[in-house]
């Protein structure tokens, strides 16, 4: 296994915190400059595969896509969350690409073509990355299996020798302890009455 694979395997054991990043509200500033966007994207991606968005739908989608991209000049912030100029420029670019009819996947691919897979906050499901996604589930299943086996074996081992039943007192709900004591006192009194030791009257 390569160093990269090991690194990914390690990462797989950690909670994928990045997934929990909420989508930030779309950037308010609309890009006025449309120069050369389509040209550059066409150079990388070919033609748009979606329909051009506009209005609130465009705002919302821009925020969604920006939340999936890593701001290259920040430490662990998405393009949606970062106030940096670089992130702002990227949001404008996302917006223009979506408006031009490029779909989410194309927009992501556009940024990936220049920044590499690093720019995606969610590692895409391909190659060694599968490990990242399935390892937590496998670890959970494995853990559950081991736990089930151990519990079953313990249960089996515990059943064999006739273990002395645990005293009730040890396991009683503390809320009920008062009632138990009263019952005990009553029973005790009855016993004493039965043996004719004392107590003439009751209640």
């Amino acid at each position: 296994m390569s160093a990269r694979a090991w690194l990914l395997a390690l990462t797989a054991l950690l909670p994928v915190a990045a997934l929990a990043q909420p989508a930030a509200p779309p950037s308010a500033a609309a890009s006025s400059a449309f120069e050369g966007v389509a040209d550059d994207a066409r150079h990388v991606l070919g033609g748009p595969q979606g329909r051009g968005l506009s209005g609130p739908e465009l705002d919302a989608r821009t925020g969604q896509v920006a939340a999936l991209l890593r701001c290259p000049v920040c430490q662990g912030l998405s393009v949606a969350d970062s106030p940096s100029t670089a992130a702002q420029n990227m949001r404008h670019q996302i917006r223009d690409l979506l408006a031009a009819g490029y779909d989410d996947q194309q927009v992501m691919a556009y940024f990936e073509s220049s920044y590499g897979e690093f720019v995606r906050l969610q590692p895409p499901l391909r190659g060694i990355n599968w490990l990242l996604w399935i390892a937590p589930a496998l670890a959970l299943l494995g853990g559950g299996f081991v736990l089930a086996r151990v519990t079953r074996r313990r249960a089996a081992a515990g059943a064999a020798p006739a273990a002395a039943p645990e005293p009730v007192a040890a396991s009683i709900d503390p809320a009920l302890a008062g009632y138990r004591d009263r019952v005990r006192a009553l029973v005790h009194d009855e016993d004493e009455a039965a043996t004719g030791a004392s107590r003439k009257d009751r209640g």
Binding site: A3, L7, L10, G36, N89, S114, G116
Partner: protein, 181 residues
């Protein structure tokens, strides 16, 4: 107890220790990873130079090797490498086109910087930041060496020194370096 517990423990701990051992010296700085653009066609751009004048288009330079340097006046290493780039452009300007692309800076500051520090090639304004995005710029300075066919041969992150500049000009224009010697 038990061998089994020990084995399971080792099975968990050893791979983790292995990962640590292999990666402990790795620099997590993403800008130092190999750019996906290396070996591919350089993203086209058409930008206006600082101080006005006709827009410069990369496509228009096809057939010439090009050095594209992303920089800013607020960037200290850029200041340090400026002299290196001036020397390089003066030595190889006939064979290699040098271009500066201003990254997140104001034209006025750039203009006064260049008039003080000297200028041997055009610096272009990337006001929308789109060219920096297209080139996957993480920060400045970053320098792209583009061969005569328009493909990116090398990306250098951080300030250039004379030797590194010469070496990489050699990649895109082998003759330029031997002639200059």
């Amino acid at each position: 107890v038990n061998r089994k517990v020990l084995l399971i423990g080792l099975a968990v701990v050893l791979p983790l220790a292995g990962i640590l051992a292999v990666n402990i010296k790795r620099d997590p700085n993403p800008s130092l990873q190999r750019s996906p653009l290396v070996g591919r066609k350089a993203p086209p751009f058409t930008l206006t130079p600082v101080g006005g004048g006709a827009a410069v288009s990369l496509e228009g330079l096809r057939g010439h090797p090009v050095v594209v340097n992303f920089w800013a006046t607020w960037c200290v290493p850029c200041f340090q490498e400026h002299a290196v780039l001036l020397r390089g452009a003066r030595a190889h300007g006939a064979q290699v086109q040098f271009l500066g692309v201003v990254y997140e800076d104001e034209e006025e500051r750039v203009r006064s910087f260049l008039s003080e520090e000297g200028m041997a090639y055009p610096s272009l304004l990337d006001t929308s930041g789109r060219t920096a995005i297209a080139y996957g710029v993480f920060g400045v300075p970053e320098t792209y060496f583009i061969d005569a066919d328009g493909a990116i041969a090398y990306k250098h992150v951080g300030p250039l020194d004379d030797a590194t500049l010469e070496e990489n000009i050699g990649r895109i224009a082998p003759r330029a370096v031997t002639e200059a010697r």
